[in-house]
């Protein structure tokens, strides 16, 4: 008990965090220090193997792979951050609201959630992607829409038990207001789960982004995006396997980092 208070992260979670920090430093560091364009083509330099000028080599259009990988990472981080944040805020507040108010508010929110849940998340994202092709904003909206449902269901279930429990009843009898109850009772009960969901959600949103990229219906070339890079480099797997390996490894590390960070609570 005391131990977990001092160090809330397990070893595996620390490894995940370290992994993510490395990737983040790489992505941001490249932006600050390395001035190569991720989209500029130099056809004469295509399939250039790694050298001092281009540490990770160049792709089939002679674009700098280091710049492309870092740009793709920034894109993934940005999307994960935005969608997780929006989904968490929406899901947590709606969940607490539904648990607290009950009645028609609860029924309405549940109806919306059931509608979203009736379809597998990826199908929903694909449908949204089809409405405005190649739009980052649309993918962000679609992924957040898929993610918030998880927060809502979890927070609603936990808050309901907490709100009906004796500690909250006692606090109410002692004259404490709603904000106090959220702060002292509800948030501590959901905190660990919400953070873990956030890490899982980040992994999910990164997988979704790369998945729609991989089936060619996400962001459009020449954007540097991991899924898109994998599908574009796939035809050259025998000539330049080291090229294809790069986005594959980065994507796996990114997802792994978030999944480790999420811990074993699921």
């Amino acid at each position: 008990m005391m131990l977990s208070r001092k160090n809330p992260f397990s070893t595996w979670q620390c490894i995940g965090l370290a992994l993510l920090l490395c990737l983040l430093i790489f992505a941001v560091g490249e932006w600050l220090l390395y001035h190569a364009s991720p989209t500029a083509q130099h056809l004469s330099e295509s399939f250039q193997t790694p050298n001092s000028a281009a540490p990770l080599g160049k792709d089939q259009f002679g674009r700098d792979m280091l710049a492309r990988l870092a740009a793709a990472l920034r894109l993934s981080f940005l999307l994960a951050l935005l969608s997780v944040f929006s989904a968490a805020i929406l899901g947590v507040s709606a969940g607490i609201c539904a648990a607290w108010r009950g009645g028609w508010v609860d029924s309405l929110l549940n109806f919306i959630v059931n509608t979203v849940l009736a379809l597998p998340g990826l199908v929903l994202v694909l449908l949204f992607a089809a409405i405005v092709p190649g739009s980052f904003a649309m993918l962000y909206v679609a992924i957040s829409l898929v993610l918030w449902v998880e927060y809502f269901r979890l927070v609603r279930a936990v808050s309901k038990t907490v709100i009906n429990g004796a500690p909250v009843q006692a606090s109410r009898l002692f004259g404490f207001g709603r904000w106090y109850i959220v702060k002292r009772h509800i948030w501590p009960a959901i905190r660990a789960n919400v953070l873990s969901l956030a890490a899982f959600g980040a992994a999910t949103s990164i997988i979704m982004l790369s998945s729609v990229g991989f089936v060619y219906v996400g962001l459009k070339p020449p954007t540097a995006e991991l899924g898109l890079m994998i599908v574009e480099l796939f035809p050259y797997y025998s000539d330049a396997p080291w090229l294809l390996a790069q986005p594959l490894i980065v994507l796996a590390l990114l997802v792994l980092g978030f999944q480790l960070l999420a811990g074993s609570r699921s």
């Binding site: 004796a166 006692a170 606090s171 009898l173 002692f174 404490f176 002292r184 501590p188």
Partner: protein, 465 residues
């Protein structure tokens, strides 16, 4: 065949220190031994040791013999031969001990069929006979979650015994039970006394008295006194035993003679009827409580005691009748004490901080905190810990302190001491009652223990289910 138990200077210790200290006793066929003492780790470990299931984090010294083998030194296979066939165990929580997805009959039948190795037809008829004897025929086709508490208890008893074990171990068999289920358990244990030997571990003096035989009293892991139940419970020699017996409600000093009550009626309920779903919890109930009055509310579990308390506090709605509360009963003036001490505190926050927040919320005088702590025999360092790191007895006193701090006019105390050891229970009840009398605060004290209520309250209302 009889099963003998011999324990010689058994010491069990954890990394923190000695839990059970040089315990020695023996038990022969048809004998019955009750080990009496506070709820705590030590006594339960003894049962685990006898079954050979001691947690690996604990170490032990001394001699142990059950039916000719040392269960702690024998390989698992040898221990397993004891289970059921020689030694049976009455599980503490019968609902949890039964497989939740299997019919009760199946769970009994399998013992006759597979442990006794009987042919199908014979196992069938013995199962039916067994269930008939324990009045379980109705339960045969049910799964555990459909059983009443008493039925589950009887079913677990039948299963534990079916393999033929002559010795039964019962660890805190009445913990957390209401009067009628306690009665069931005592009957089952007496049944066992007629068929073999019995070792019971309990904090419940009534159980020890009902079972008779020999009694051993344990305090802080040490045996302090032993003798026949008859003699020991009538004239205890050791101070600890004396205190334990004195703390039983029937030995409490009765409160003073009838007092003059102020005429201010704080709570007045007329013909209240409350439903939960479609079932009626109680019907046309009338009750009025005056300032400074201590009213007891008695009844078995399920009789609606807690519901009535919550209705009077305005926490639950009522369907018919009228409830009038005095205008002085504003927010913070009517409070509740809970059965489960941690249930009333937010977890993970130092208790001192929670109290400060309360003082801040009601602009109270922080200086009254330390005299109250002193009055309730609480040490200041407790305030630095969160609720989950404080013992039940201390936490319940802190809950009482929190209530006293804001000077309420009406308190509902819902079984506030039923999870505590008798000595702490007596102290808390006395403090609560005397506080309410001094401060002209109305108290509704809910308990399943009629004697406790008779000793502490001005009058007692009995609810019938």
């Amino acid at each position: 065949m009889s099963v003998d138990v011999m324990v010689d200077k058994l010491t069990i210790s954890s990394a923190q220190g000695v839990i059970l200290h040089e315990l020695s006793f023996s038990l022969t066929a048809a004998e019955s031994l009750t080990i009496l003492g506070h709820t705590g780790a030590g006594k339960s470990l003894l049962v685990q040791a006898l079954m050979g299931n001691l947690p690996a984090s604990l170490s032990h010294r001394g001699q142990l013999r059950v039916a000719g083998i040392d269960p702690l030194a024998s390989p698992r296979r040898a221990r397993q031969l004891l289970w059921g066939k020689q030694v049976s165990m009455l599980p503490q929580e019968p609902w949890h001990a039964l497989n939740p997805v299997m019919k009760v009959r199946e769970q009994l039948y399998e013992v006759w069929r597979w442990v006794r190795g009987l042919p199908r037809a014979e196992a069938d008829s013995l199962t039916a006979q067994n269930m008939h004897d324990l009045d379980l025929t109705d339960a045969a086709a049910k799964i555990p979650s459909q059983l009443s508490g008493g039925m589950a208890q009887r079913a677990a008893f039948a299963m534990a015994n079916a393999a033929g074990g002559q010795l039964m171990l019962a660890d805190e068999p009445t913990k957390g039970l209401d009067a009628s289920r306690r009665h069931t358990v005592i009957e089952l244990l007496q049944r066992q006394q007629r068929r073999g030997s019995l070792l019971t571990i309990t904090h419940d003096i009534d159980v020890a008295r009902a079972l008779g035989g020999r009694v051993m009293v344990l305090n802080q892991g040490r045996m302090v006194e032993q003798g026949t139940a008859d003699k020991l419970l009538r004239s205890p020699q050791h101070p600890y035993t004396q205190r334990l017996l004195q703390a039983q409600p029937q030995h409490w000093p009765a409160h003073g003679s009838t007092r003059e009550l102020s005429s201010e009626v704080l709570v007045n309920a007329e013909n209240l009827t409350v439903y939960r779903g479609k079932s009626r919890i109680f019907d046309e109930l009338s009750l009025s409580i005056q300032a400074g009055e201590v009213v007891g509310l008695a009844g078995d579990s399920g009789s609606g005691k807690s519901t009535l308390g919550d209705v009077l506090l305005g926490l639950l709605p009522y369907q018919q009748g009228r409830l009038t509360l005095a205008p002085t009963l504003a927010v913070g003036a009517k409070l509740k004490l809970y059965q489960d001490p941690p249930a009333s505190f937010a977890a993970g926050v130092p208790l001192g901080k929670l109290l400060q927040e309360l003082i801040h919320r009601h602009r109270l005088d922080a200086a009254q905190l330390s005299p109250l702590m002193h009055r309730l025999q609480l040490l200041p360092h407790l305030l630095q810990r969160p609720a989950e790191q404080v013992s039940g007895g201390e936490l319940q006193r802190l809950a009482l302190l929190r209530v006293m701090l804001i000077r309420p006019r009406f308190i509902v105390a819902d079984e506030p001491t039923s999870r505590l050891d008798p000595i702490t229970a007596q102290m808390i009840t006395e403090q609560l009652v005397s506080y309410c009398r001094q401060q002209q605060c109305a108290l509704l004290l809910i308990s399943h223990d009629r004697q406790l209520l008779d000793k502490s309250c001005d009058r007692v209302v009995q609810l019938t289910g």
